[in-house]
Amino acid sequence: MNDKGISPTRAIHKYELKGGYYVVDPCSGSVHVADKQAYDLLDKVTPARFEHYEGVKEAGSACLAEDKEHSSVCPESEQGGCYAELRELYKAGLLFAEDECEKYAETSIDAPLKALCLHVSHDCNLRCRYCFAKEVLCNEGIHSPQSEHDNYAKEVLCNEGIHSPQSEHDSFAEDNVSDHTAMSPETAIAAIDFLVAHSGERTELEADFFGGEPLMAWDTVTAAVAYARANEQSWGKRFRFTITTNGLLLDDEKIAYINAEMTNCVMSLDGRRSVNDIMRPTANGKGSFDVVVPKFRKLIKTRTKEGFTDHYIRGTFTAFNLDFAEDVIELARLGFRNISLEPVTCTNEADYAITNEHIPQIYEQYDKLFMFLTGCEHSQEVNGLDSKGINFFHFNVDLTGGACVIRRLRGCGAGNEYLAVAPNGDCYPCHRFVGNSAYNMGSVSKTLSLNIKEYFSKTHIYSKSDCSECWARFYCSGGCNASSYDCYGDCRRTDSQSVECLMMKKRLECAIALAAMRLNVANEVCDS
């Protein structure tokens, strides 16, 4: 019980954001927008008081008797209407709802496979600085994962003992990609067969072409797609493909192919030219911004096929650009509408690492982005740019039709419904475990380790250390298992005060507030 006598599992979360007052009831999944009076009154009401006192006067008197410090609890009759509204929500199960979802925690143990991440190339033609952090981490045996999608080939190599990490992590002139392994077309086709064979009755299957840089194994990509397309009807399946690219090798032919076959395309770019080129140099140490931006623009401009329009510009922010809202705005200014900007994850030793001391600045940036996107809702001109329809990936939340609770309990499904396949065909729970022999789950040409699959199927918000009482648990689903493993050596250990959790909760607050605005509820309350 907390200091108000409310079980932490049914506690609400309320917050103020730029003049709006928001209330999240985690277990019902409901969200409310309050005025200041209701917002303040929520500090003083409890399920017990709602149960016992129909009116505000009785509740206030009871509170006064219980605790003189709470003498302001519902004291006046003018709060009666406010109290009644809150009590009505409580009675409807939309405030202080009980957590009744734990019984579904192990319903997906036998879930069939539905998605593969295919590491078609561990080679990469960029030399991103993020990559060197992994060398240090691997070298010191502390942790490994780096969060930049193009570059964890190094991590893989470290895990496999192939690569000798360098200690000069910021010497990016050096060739840091010595693993040039590519997946053969035959292995990719075997992976498609493997996915189909383990997919049970599921009809919607996914394969994600990843790397390194997947365009460096283009023949493998096209062979896998052609094989799946040629057979999906007879299998009774439908494939959705995604590719993640740094863009350097894009040409007209590849753009046309991606736009015809990939239901989603993720393009890597960090934002402003100066920010991008410091962190994402080419092999000869030059910036990549001017090379890739025109190609990305061309891809998006011609990405019009129905069902194949999804795409994101995906960047990384680090301690070097803690004003990262400017990078989002710059990406919007460049004409990109679907934007994702992710925090770098690495050890605190890296000079670009994001640490707890940066949290206030990061919150400011998310607030700035919230205001920017709020403006986009109402105007086509924000900061001198055409801002209509800008979609910031991290502020997206589907409040009315999102994923079912069974999905929310364990999130991505890594190791259970979703696996990564290394170039040699070995399977791992996800891309971040590739090369970690302890998590080798077999091979696409052999059998699947059911022990590891079962472990991941039972890794959910109720089995994670800091999640079961967190207000955000049904939104973030306990976060990334690989991040927990990398930080603590345990997929089931979480820390609600970690940088990752703090940022996640802040993003969710912004996302929920933005969703309320889009539904026009926040405006109604503000106007009333």
């Binding site: 019902s28 999944g29 406010c82 509204e85 964890y152 999102g402 991505c412 990334c480």
Partner: protein, 49 residues
């Protein structure tokens, strides 16, 4: 939910536990929660049933 309230208005009264009754079909897209791909919250994912 009646949104004639003066002090608190409901954006969504979605009941999570009700989604369990017909949930778990697996038709929704896979998502990655790791920042090294493109992390997202599962709440961001639409139900495709």
């Amino acid at each position: 939910m009646n949104n004639q309230n003066q002090h608190i208005k409901t954006v969504t009264g979605k009941s999570l536990k009700e989604t369990a009754e017909k949930g778990g079909c697996g038709k929704c897209r896979a998502s990655c929660q790791s920042a090294c791909k493109t992390s997202c919250t599962v709440a961001n994912q639409p139900c495709e049933r």
